[in-house]
């Protein structure tokens, strides 16, 4: 199969959606400039015209509201937020309008809207250019939240999101844009709500999403060198997340590390950890542990960034500590 980068896969999904469905259009900031979307939208304005690739003024609230209204009037908009931080200005159309509307007026049809948000952190950009706010949106009934970690899922989940009758928040991560992987050329969808096992293992389950799912795969490779056999689950969809697949895995391994690129308190990791504990309590050999950002705004300084963002090292250490803890208890 052909190989694409994550950014190319996002671009291809857009191109195919625009070509296949005249109702699809994209609106948001930076559509005509590589500064905002990297190569993920490159050339689509000249290919499909600026009337369907609308580079808008910085009016996040009204632009997102317009996308909701256009969806209700029969189009299939993708509203683009090149930095998730700025999307906070659009909380009303996302939460009050799109999400609640899909419940309130479900008897009158849904809100077929894709909200695309980019996590764009690191690089000494500081606290207001670095936030991964997925947990805030995961909290809201009526919103689906997808977070692809691979080029295959980046394409398949975007194509699934646009076909969905309700509002879907599609969050991609600039740190993944260069990752390569096999992607079918033809249009395809990845089922929203289905996680995937990236690596089979029997000692511990590593659970992640988006960038942290990729870090879990790397952590499993580190652990393998030490004879620890980790199973890796990439959630792919954060809301609704695949509780059955995760619970089945943890029930088998008896140990779970939840890795998330968001903050710890009331974060995605908190929901996953408590759900795993509720479902797998009697099979757990140790408490569920979490690897997250500290409860602090993102630093700007490079050396502080290196400490702030956890990755494969921290995930593998957490897994190792879980197994050592059990070994100690067995010896005692």
């Amino acid at each position: 199969m052909r190989t694409l980068t994550y950014a190319q896969a996002i671009r291809e999904a857009h191109a195919q959606l625009l070509a296949l469905d005249p109702r699809v259009f994209v609106i948001g900031q930076g559509l005509w400039s590589p500064w905002y979307a990297g190569s993920s939208l490159e050339g689509l304005d000249s290919e499909f015209g600026c009337a369907r690739m609308v580079d808008s003024p910085v009016s996040e609230n009204a632009v997102t509201g317009m996308a909701v209204g256009a969806a209700l009037a029969g189009l299939r908009p993708i509203v683009f937020h090149p930095r998730m931080d700025f999307m906070l200005l659009a909380m009303d159309p996302i939460v009050n309008q799109a999400a609640n509307w899909s419940y309130l007026f479900s008897s009158k049809g849904g809100v077929p809207l894709v909200i695309r948000a980019v996590i764009n952190r690191g690089g000494e950009q500081g606290a207001q250019h670095s936030q991964a706010l997925h947990a805030m949106f995961m909290h809201v009934p009526g919103l689906k939240v997808v977070m692809p970690a691979t080029p295959y899922d980046a394409k398949g989940l975007l194509m699934a999101a646009i076909k969905d009758s309700g509002p879907v928040l599609y969050i991609d991560d600039r740190w993944l844009y260069g990752e390569s992987g096999e992607v079918p050329e033809e249009p395809f969808t990845v089922v929203i709500g289905e996680a995937i096992v990236r690596r089979r293992g029997s000692d511990v389950t590593l659970i992640g999403v988006s960038w942290m799912a990729a870090e879990c795969v790397r952590a499993a490779a580190l652990l393998e060198h030490e004879g620890i056999d980790a199973e890796v689950i990439d959630l792919r969809t954060l809301k609704p997340w695949d509780k059955e697949l995760v619970a089945a895995s943890v029930s088998r391994t008896g140990r779970a590390v939840v890795a998330d690129g968001g903050w710890r308190t009331a974060g995605a990791s908190a929901d996953i950890a408590v759900e795993v504990t509720e479902r797998c309590f009697h099979d757990l050999k140790a408490p569920v542990v979490r690897v997250t950002l500290p409860d602090a705004p993102a630093p700007a300084n490079r050396s502080e960034e290196l400490v702030y963002y956890p990755g494969a090292e921290q995930i593998s250490s957490a897994a190792r500590a879980l197994l050592e803890r059990i070994a100690k208890r067995a010896a005692a």
């Binding site: 009204a62 909701v68 209204g69």
Partner: protein, 305 residues
């Protein structure tokens, strides 16, 4: 241009329907049969009736918390309104929202929701969709004077002017946002000029004069349909009842009590009734009875489940 007697009777019927339906709802609020918050439109009926008279059936309207009138004037089902206010499955939103959440897309009421000015960007988005599809449909956003204090209304005006969207912005200035008089919220009484900076022309009309409202709306709708972009119309009016609930809202101060006494004689419905009587229309009582019968039937249908 003088409107025909038949045209005026149609407006009178719409306004009477809104007035009587809302009085019925007010009674149910007072008796406790209706529990959800109801923001009554009584006193402002000429605006919904005048604007909707300028629209085609496929044109769409968007509203806010005080939108019973918009919903009915655009042709929303009366039983659907009563059912919704009573939170029954017969409601237009299947009883999921109540008075503040109305929709009847089959007649162009795309939605009314209570976040102040929440539907203004949505109306702009619908207008964007009509333009993109090459249709000459128009979207109308109804909102109150308080809405112009929300930033996204200004963002929406800029976007609508920039993209020349077929959008009509109806600001119903009833002088109060909740309990605050305009003078407690703004330094100048100039809402119709709010679009100037965004290249949205504005006009101020007597919102209690259905013909004046219609005239302004018709020009704005024609302008929108012709691809010339959005227009803002400030309709001056007064809310008779409280911000929410059935009372006459005499609790917000002496000044307000004086204002209500000034505005009651300007009743838009009575003005139209007088006009029609002058023109020799003699069957208004019969027509009123027919409307009341319709209201009774709709209430029965709403409560059938």
């Amino acid at each position: 241009m003088k409107n025909s007697t038949g045209w005026l009777i149609n407006r009178w019927e719409t306004m009477t329907l809104i007035r009587h339906a809302e009085e019925r709802i007010a009674g149910m609020v007072e008796s406790g049969e209706v529990g959800c918050p109801c923001h009554l439109y009584i006193g402002q009926e000429a605006i919904a009736a005048g604007v909707c008279a300028a629209l085609r059936s496929e044109d769409t309207v968007w509203g806010g918390h005080r939108s019973h009138g918009h919903y009915l004037a655009k042709g929303g089902s009366l039983a659907g309104l009563f059912g919704e206010v009573l939170l029954k499955a017969t409601g237009c939103a299947a009883g999921r929202g109540g008075s503040m959440h109305l929709a009847a897309p089959e007649v162009g009421v795309l939605g009314t929701v209570p976040i102040v000015a929440g539907t203004v960007p949505l109306a702009a988005g619908a207008a964007f969709a009509y333009k993109m599809r090459g249709e000459d449909t128009v979207a109308v956003a109804f909102f109150g004077d308080g809405a112009l204090e929300e930033g996204h209304v200004h963002e929406s005006m800029n976007l609508a002017a920039l993209y020349r969207l077929p959008l009509v912005l109806i600001c119903e200035n009833n002088l109060y946002a909740s309990h605050l008089h305009w003078s407690e919220r703004r330094a100048a009484d100039n809402l119709y000029r709010a679009g100037e900076f965004h290249s949205v022309p504005g006009e101020r009309v007597d919102g209690n004069d259905v013909e004046a409202v219609y005239q302004a709306a018709r020009s704005a709708v024609e302008r929108a349909r012709g691809g010339e972009g959005p227009t803002l119309i400030e309709c001056r009016t007064f809310r008779w009842r409280g911000h929410v609930g059935a009372s006459f809202d005499l609790d917000v101060g002496v000044a307000r009590r004086g204002e209500l006494a000034e505005w009651l004689p300007l009743d838009p419905l009575q003005r139209l009734t007088d006009q029609l009587t002058e023109r020799g229309v003699a069957d208004l009582t019969l027509r009123e009875q027919a409307i009341d019968a319709r209201i009774g039937g709709a209430m029965e249908a709403a409560c059938a489940h």
